[in-house]
Structure formats: C-alpha cells, structure tokens
Amino acid sequence: MSAAVYEERLERMWQSRPGVLGWVMTTDHKRIGLLYFWTTLVLFAAGGAEALLIRTQLIQPNQHLVGPATYDELFTMHGVTMIFFFIIPMTTGAFGNYLLPLMIGARDMAFPRLNALSYWIFLGSGLFIYTSLFLGMAPNAGWFDYVPLASRQFDPGHAIDFYCLGIIFNGLASTLTAGNFIVTILKLRAPGMSFNRMPLFCFAFLAASWGLLFALPSLSADTIFLFLDRNIGTHFFDVAKGGSTLLWQHLFWIFGHPEVYILIVPAFGIATEIIPAFTQRRVVAFPLVAVAELLVVFIGFGVWAHHMFATGMPTVTVIFFAAATAAVVIPSTIQVFAWCMTFITGNAQFKTPLLFIAGFIFMFVAGGLTGIMFLAVPFDQQVTDTYFVIAHFHYIIFGAAVFPIFGGMYFWFPKVTGKLYFELPGQISFWIIFLGTNLLFFPMHLVGLAGMPRRNYTYPAGLGWGADNLAETIGSYITTVGILLLLGNLVVSYFRGPPAGADPWHGATLEWTIPSPPPEYNFAVIPKVSSAYANWDVEDREEDRRRLAEGVMVLDEGHEQPVSSPVDGWFAEIAEMPHDSLWPIVLAVALSVVFVLLLLHLWMGTAFALAGVMLALLGWHGEEPEETDA
C-alpha cells in the first residue's frame, strides 16, 4: 500500500462530526485549542476595556469619569480577567493545547475528554464571573481580595461570593488542564524522545503545569475559607475569634507568586521555539535553559511572603523569602543570556515573531531588574503598594508574557491557518506596541517613586504626578492601536494571505513536519526522534517517509496512540484514545448549576445538582472503548 492509502484510512478514522455538533462534542486538542483561543481573546478585550477606563480616569488629577465604586470594580475585574481568564487559558489552554501534542509527536492529549471538560468549565466560569459585572455586583476588593475588607462586615452583598466561587470554578479547569499536560508530556512523547530530546517548549509547559497543580489548591483552600466565613459564619479570618487576617495573605500568595511564573514560563517556552527558527540555530546551553524553566517555578513556590514585607512579620522569617527571591533571579539570567547568545551565534532574521521576542527580552530584563530590587526588604517596604510595583509587574506580565503570546500568534499562524501573515504591517504592529507599552509603563516607575499609591480612583494635583499619568494614558491608547493592527493583520491574512506550505520558517520542532493546517490525526506516522530539534534531523524525516510507505508505525486500527516511558521515552504500549463525546459539556453545565445554586444559598438544590454531576460522570464512564473481555 502507498502512503496516500494510509493517510486516507487515518482521515476516515479520526474525522470529527460536521457542523456545530462537531465543535460541541470535539475531543480534538486542536479544536479545543482554537475554542480556548477565541474565548480568551474576547475576555482579553474585556480586560483591556477595563484597563482603558482605568487609564482614562487617571489621565489628570481629580477626574470623575467613574466613581470610586465603579473604579474598584474595574481594577479588580481587570486583574482577575487578565490573570485567570486571559493569560493562563491563552498560554496553557490555547497554545499548549494546540501545540504540545504536535511537538511531542502525539495524536492527542492523554485525556482528550478531560481536555474538552477543562474548556467547557473554563467557559462556564468566565460567564459566571462576568455575570456579576452585568448584575452590578462585580468583585471590588482587588484580585488579591484581602480580608477583612472582603469580609461580610465590610463587603456585604454577593460581590465577593462571586469572586470566591468564580475562582474555585476556574481553578478546577486549570487543575484539570495541568494534570492533563503533565501526563501528556511524560507519557505521550514519541518513542525516542527522552527528556534531553524534549523541545524546551515542553519543559516550559511541564513547569507551568506542575506550578498550577500545586499552587491552585492553596487558593482554593483560601477562597473556601472566605466563602465559609461569609456564608456559614466560621472565623478563619476573624481576629476577634482567634482567626488571622494574615492567614488569607499567606495562602493567597502561596498561590499568587508561583502564579506569576505560571504566567511567564509558557511565554519562555514560546520564545525558545521562535528563537531557533529565526536564528536557524539550536538554543545555546540547552540543559541549563531547560532546568532554568523548571527551577524558576520550583523556587517560585518559596518566595510568597515578599508580597507581605510591610505587614510587620518578624525579620527572621522575612529573611527566608528575601533569600528565595534572590535565588529565583538566577534561572532567569541563565535564560536571558542563553537567548542573547543564540541570537548572536546564530543568523538572526528579525521577522515579526523574532522582533516580539527581542522586545520580550528587553521588557523582561527591565521588569526583572526592578524585581531584583524587591529582595532588598527596606526598599520593598518603601515602594510596595505604589505604582513602582505596577510598573514592575506590567513589564513582566505584559512585556514578558503577552509579547511572546503576540509573537507566537504570528509564528504559528501559518501552521494553524495554512496562510502567511503580511510581514510589513506585522513589524509596524510590533513597533507600535513596543513603544506604546514603554510609554504606558515606564512613567509608572517615576510616579511610584514620587509616592503615588496603587488603587486610588483619583489623585490630587501638586504632587508631581500629573505629567506621568498623562503619558501613561496616551501610551495605553497607542498600545491599543498596535494590538488592533496586529489582530487586523491576522484577520486579513486569513482571507488574503499567500499559502504557507508545511514549513515556512524551517522550524525546529515536529509540528513543522506535518501539513498546515494539521490533519485531525496530526501524524500519519509516529515520528522518529533523536534530538530536541527533530525537524532539522533530515535522515529521521526520511526514515518517517520510508515507514509511511511501508505502513510501519502508522497505527491505523482505531484511535491508536503509542505510550512511552516517562523519562527515556521508551515505547511501552499502544493506547486506544476515546472518540468525540457529549459528556464533557453536559458535566460542565451540571457543575455550573452547582456553583450558581451555591451563590444563591440554595443548599438543597446544590445537593441535587451534585447528584446531577454524579449522573453525568456515570454516563461519561459508561462510554468504554469497545474491546473484548481481557
């Protein structure tokens, strides 16, 4: 038989239902990735609109565009949206889902139906928390939601309950995704892809997934405590009854700081894929970069209390977190210099994606250096809760997390759509965004040092804050223009762009070995891997073609997927992957009902809804892969 015949068989085997039902029931990681992409893009727009309102309110002293109540809701929702509903789902949900299986030579995630469930839960939680905005009871105590301000006494009504439940609900989705990624990366790598031959992208997502898996429970516990305090009358955070308000802060930041690395490490992963492609050179010091991506998350678990240096903890305890904060710098410096040296020793071509990565390195170093300053406890205590901190973490989160996301959008656009984007508008969009963000965030350093605190809905004149704030607001408008140009470019390219072919960049990893857009079965033949830059190992790719012609390792008898050993990628067995299913969305709907009823204090109803959840699970596990009794 010829290659075409095998491909045609796989096509029939893996094709999903036509039309809407195909999307509702899909378990295809590529379709789920796209669903994530579009959803998070919408939420990004929402968070961006909130940011623009904030900046417009602060354009000059004593403005009253929005009142204090609205302003508090705006900055709370901006934080919650950008962190929980844009960056995490965009990196893990969209990029990770779409690309990870392609990079490790797999045909899907380890748990495809769980993957679909993650998306539908994420969608439910997004709708849940944004309902609060339209009901005029949006969370208003900041994304950090400190007690006692968030306690029932000082914040009656449903705003904070929306926060607690929304966060737990969303955390559920992220936890499932994280577990799914970890198992996928450890077990579904193409035979031969031992740990040292795994693309750096996968190290980054492995690190981020471990981070999510171990960080989120702390936040869940915290929000559970708060929900109980508010609605049952417990006293976890009630000082009068032996509780502690600092307990909230500790639990929140035990999640909250690893969170920061969870946001940027996937971006590192994206960078470590774009750089080799546009320098045509393997990343310098591969093992150090790989371990750095894991280390930054691991050490990130030990720095949480540096968000609490001003709470009057004993110096002897503060020391530990300052030291960890010092340590967490090194993995980043390792990566920065590895990237730079790859730029230099390779032959860099500054096309749009690489421009975004260069910009990312600049922003990341700038933000990282101010981050180092926070290990100096007295200085931290001086500038914490001022705009200096906002400047720092926006350089990190916008500069170091969102820039690579934009770069990645351009980089993988040809793979996903089969079209090339237009280069010149792409480069222009980069320069607009780069200048805009620096104009937006750099003055925040100055105004922070000049003493402007965070979370003020307005500020008096005469303190020397006016000019900086004006510049920031203008910068925010410029940035918006750049982002719109970027999206416009991609939309137009989708319809008018020239065909891209399978491998327009001579990319390094396995996704470039298959057609664009990838077929539903991803790989007609499970690829042979003997380095982390598989697409550059010419003889391996020829071996693949030979195998396909001979039908070796095509696995076309059902949804077949090889499973390999976690460290050395030895071929272990062939797993039968599940087919499309309606149960994920059913289960997600049932869960949404649970959370709505909890919000309304309908405890009996909640019990019934939980029963519904169980029935859904029962139905889910009724779908067994057809096979004979063992």
């Binding site: 198992v183 450890l186 898996l213 009854k241 032996g242 502690s244 063992a630």
Partner: protein
C-alpha cells in the same frame, strides 16, 4: 507490525493511574494547605483549643483510622486479582473493603453530628478549621465509597482492560485516602498534646 509490536508491553502504570496520581497530588496539596492553616492559627493562639471548646477524643478516632487503613489490603488484592482476571476474587475483596469503609463512614458521620451538639464551626477559629479538616476528610472517604460501589456495578458485567484500569485506579485512590485520614487524625489529635 515491526519492532514496535515486539516492544508492546501491557500493564504497568497505565495512563489512568497517572491521571489518578495527578488528582491525588492536587488533593494532597489541598489538605497540606488546610493543615498548614491549622498550625498557623494554632501558633497564634494562647490556648488551643480555646477554653470552653472540648478537646477531641483520642482513642476511638485513632482506632477507627487504623481500621480504615486496613482496607488498603483488600483494595490492593482486588487490583491484583483483577489483573489475573480472577473476577469473583476481585468482587469479593471489593465487598470486604466496602463493608469496612461504609461502617467507618457511618460511625464517623454520626460522631460528627454528635460533636456538633457540643461545639459548632461558628464558635471560634479552632472549631472552624477542626470541622473543615475533618469534614473534608469524610467527604473523600464518601467519594471513595461511591467509587467502589460503581466499580462493583461495573464488574457485574464482566472484566475488560478498561475496568481493570478502573480497579487499579480506585485502589490507588483508597491508599491515598487512608494515608490522608491517618495524617488528618494525627493533626487533629495534636491539639490534645
């Protein structure tokens, strides 16, 4: 089908077990956070438990936790029996485990209700964390029982590789829950020291 067919190795920790390992890891972290909070509050308190709040009983909970822990044995045996395709053995071992587990839960829930008559989570921070931690553990036991029941129901209709995986996974879950229970009981009893 080439050297791969030769290399095919069934068994070992399959994907399902790995999945359960992820769940257990995240649940264990959740309990770790609860326990951390317990001691954080404890350090901040002059008297623990506060005056007027009864100390937890020591003997009975310890014995019960020990008894529950023994169910790890039948669960593991059931998994092994299932692997050897001994369907009836697996079913009986699961029933053995189920009886003990249900007995444990019934008593504990009754005891939980009894304690609530003397002190409530609304009393003070100690009671809040005490009842939350204990309740969370009971919920995990209850979920485990549901899983075993579901497993038995599945096994009524024969054994498949899928169901074999299910038995292994549920056994894994129970080992974790048993360990968890021992830890939680130990933490709660540390208040009496």
């Amino acid at each position: 089908m080439s050297d791969y067919a030769a290399g095919v190795r069934r068994g070992g920790p399959g994907l399902a077990v790995w999945g359960m390992a992820m769940l257990v890891a995240s649940e264990a972290t959740l309990f770790g956070t609860f326990i951390g909070s317990y001691y954080y509050l404890r350090f901040g308190a002059q008297h623990w438990p506060p005056p007027g709040t009864p100390e937890p009983r020591v003997v009975v909970p310890l014995i019960l936790a020990g008894v529950l822990a023994t169910t790890s044995l039948p669960m593991q045996l059931a998994a092994m029996a299932a692997r050897r395709a001994r369907l009836w053995a697996a079913r009986l071992l699961l029933v053995w485990a189920l009886v003990v587990q249900v007995g444990y839960l019934v008593y504990e829930v009754h005891d939980y209700a009894r304690q609530l008559q003397h002190s409530a989570p609304q009393d003070n921070a100690y009671s809040s964390i005490y009842y939350t931690l204990l309740g969370a553990d009971h919920v995990h036991v209850a979920v485990g029982i549901v899983l075993v029941v579901w497993l038995l129901w599945k096994l009524l209709r024969g054994l498949t590789t899928y169901r074999l995986g299910a038995v292994q996974v549920v056994a894994f879950y129970w080992h974790a829950v048993n360990l968890l229970t021992l830890v939680v009981v130990g933490v709660l009893l540390s208040a009496t020291l």
